[in-house]
Amino acid sequence: MPKIEIESEFCKGCLFCVEACPKDVIGTTSAVNDKGYQYAVPVHQENCIGCSICAIICPDAAIEVYKED
């Protein structure tokens, strides 16, 4: 099953990925990272289709995408 990993320390909580994901995989927590940003997290990892849209749109290169080989 495809999945994404969000490096929370890179994320600045811009929500671009949240808005862009066609499968609503990503949401936010109330937690903040060291920089004080409320970072994005995969909340419905199971729905991910590995399309990479989120990763491509993420300005801060916080997202990496994995797929079955």
């Binding site: 999945k3 490096e7 320390e9 890179f10 600045k12 909580g13 811009c14 929500l15 671009f16 808005e19 862009a20 920089k35 940003y37 590995g50 990479s52 849209i53 990763a55 491509i56 749109i57 300005p59 801060d60 290169a61 916080a62 997202i63 990496e64 995408v65 994995y66 797929k67 079955e68 080989d69």
Partner: protein, 244 residues
């Protein structure tokens, strides 16, 4: 499991200081991944303008040099002429490239110096707190146009792609944005094309990124993307302006 999308290898783990949703980050990421794909990371020297782009220095693993405000193209031209094997790129904001550095930009373009310019147009002076830039849209409020930019007093938004396209020196000029996936893809293609022009010794190339400044625009990151699409792109049409 295979990684199908990775962070460009040239980006350090140091976090850059760009604001959330600032497309400076996006431009940097695209440039680094284009350099990676063209196998140019080891050959490249980046000339940073003065502006928010000062952030690049810390997180991009590239030879780099900061240069006086506006003079990036002059510095880059000299580096290229002294070290032709180096891929020389500049990274500049609109204040830097189109206002104080306008003469330097145009003259490097006109000389056809074999460098590649990345131009981040966010319609204001981001780093200094959002003053009017040559690219500020009409009616846009900035800290030095508190009543909005009006053409009688402040003139019109400068279209650098158009201006530079009147010159014979440039071999590649394109305008891109990073508001959505298709545009990000096109942006990367343009960046690669521009770099390829340099590799092929064709002369001056430039990619303008229509960008944002959520902080000084007073918008959320998502709102700022909307503003780009609705307002910026009307004034700054995307496309390839020159490709020799």
């Amino acid at each position: 499991m295979k990684k199908v999308y990775s962070r460009p290898i040239g980006l350090h783990r140091n976090i850059n200081g760009y604001c959330p949703g600032c497309l400076h980050s996006a431009a940097g990421k695209i440039i680094m991944s284009a350099l990676e794909e063209l196998n140019l990371l080891e050959k490249t020297a980046m000339v940073d303008g003065v502006g928010c782009c000062a952030n690049n220095n810390n997180y991009m693993d590239l030879d780099a040099i900061g240069t006086p405000h506006g003079r990036a193209c002059a510095t880059a031209s000299a580096i290229k002429r002294c070290s032709p094997e180096t891929i020389v790129i500049t990274y500049q904001g609109d204040g830097d490239l189109a206002s104080i550095g306008l003469a330097e930009t145009m003259m490097a373009a006109n000389r056809g110096d074999n460098i590649t310019v990345f131009f981040i147009n966010n319609a204001n002076y981001g780093m200094t707190g959002g003053q009017m830039a040559p690219t500020t849209l009409l009616d846009m409020k900035t800290t030095t146009t508190p009543f909005g930019r009006n053409p009688e007093e402040h003139g019109y938004p400068m279209d650098m792609c158009k201006v530079l396209s009147t010159l014979k020196g440039p071999s590649y000029i394109a305008r891109v944005t990073c508001t959505d996936v298709p545009n990000v893809r096109k942006a990367k293609e343009a960046v690669k094309e521009a770099l390829q022009h340099q590799v092929d010794g064709k002369g001056f190339s430039m990619v303008e990124f229509v960008s944002n400044c959520p902080t000084n625009w007073g918008l959320t990151p998502l709102e700022s993307l909307k503003f780009i699409k609705e307002h910026m792109l009307a004034e700054y049409p995307l496309g390839v302006y020159r490709n020799l």
